[in-house]
């Protein structure tokens, strides 16, 4: 038996699906892919959800920079090297599924297993997401990391759709086209 309930008082569109004894709550979120830094070989972007002050990458920096200063600084310098030299796949770790472009950047000395998740778009654009401390064998076993990866996977699906339609293109190191999306995230 299915039951749909749409609460008019909710700011975001809330869709509750009851299926027998289980329910899945998904929320639609508006986001914008914001340019953080441009570069001659690689530019850095990050998604910012509507109503939030910081992008996902800025949230990652703010959350971990005080507790793991060396690891965060290493990740930042690693991004500087990538901006300078290029974003070849071998510089990252494949973390998502085979069909997606989700990759991980670990801190260099791996002192704290800090991971940043990102999308590598044609080795010219990096869309930096959020991340965290990885203490499990797989990211799926950690709720926070799983959400970070899942968010990027949803964004990747939207980007691929627009790229296939040639509505969104990579010109040099810039993303040209609509950069606002709506994605569903499991809460």
């Amino acid at each position: 038996m299915y039951f749909y309930y749409l609460s008019p008082s909710c700011k975001n569109k809330l869709l509750c699906l009851f299926l027998h004894s289980k329910y899945i709550v998904t929320m639609k979120h508006d986001l914008f892919i914001e340019l953080l830094e441009d570069g001659s070989k690689v530019s850095l972007y990050s998604p910012r959800f509507e109503g939030e002050e910081y992008t996902e990458f800025e949230k990652f920096l703010l959350q971990y920079k005080d507790k793991y200063p060396k690891d965060v600084a290493q990740i930042v310098y690693r991004l500087d090297i990538i901006k300078r030299d290029g974003a070849e796949d071998r510089h990252f770790r494949y973390e998502g599924k085979k069909r997606d472009r989700v990759m991980a950047l670990p801190s260099h000395l791996e002192t704290a297993c800090l991971r940043l998740y990102l999308l590598n778009i044609q080795s010219k654009v990096l869309i930096l997401g959020n991340g965290g401390i990885k203490e499990t064998t797989t990211y799926q076993e950690d709720e926070h990391l799983n959400r970070c990866v899942n968010t990027l996977q949803k964004i990747d699906i939207q980007l691929k759709r627009l790229e296939q339609q040639q509505v969104l293109t990579v010109c040099g190191t810039k993303l040209l086209g609509p950069l606002s999306f709506v994605i569903d995230i499991n809460e």
Partner: protein, 98 residues
């Protein structure tokens, strides 16, 4: 060029030694990759030569791994090429005199 203020703040905290260490790691990884390409070796081939997994080789090539001298020596031996060379003033003088 546009930069991000949070990234700029964190850049100020990087020590010169840490930057140098990271640059060296990247250069070593790039050199290994270069030699592999020259010899037509894949990551799988190198892993097999060293008795390691592809995942481990992938980590070395990412430039984010803190390699030991022992590992560098093993890879050099497997590739039959020096990955790093240490220059010395004395050796240069000997070469010049010869």
């Amino acid at each position: 060029m546009k930069t991000n203020k949070f990234l700029d703040e964190i850049r100020q905290t990087m020590t010169p030694e840490m930057k140098r260490q990271m640059e060296m790691s990247v250069k070593i990884a790039n050199r290994i990759y270069e030699i592999m390409e020259e010899k037509g070796l894949s990551q799988k081939d190198l892993a097999r030569l060293l008795g390691k997994t592809e995942t481990e080789v992938s980590r070395w090539l990412s430039g984010t791994h803190n390699m030991t001298m022992a590992t560098i020596a093993k890879i050099s031996e497997a590739l039959d090429t020096d990955i790093i060379r240490v220059t010395s003033k004395r050796r240069r003088k000997e070469v010049v005199m010869a």
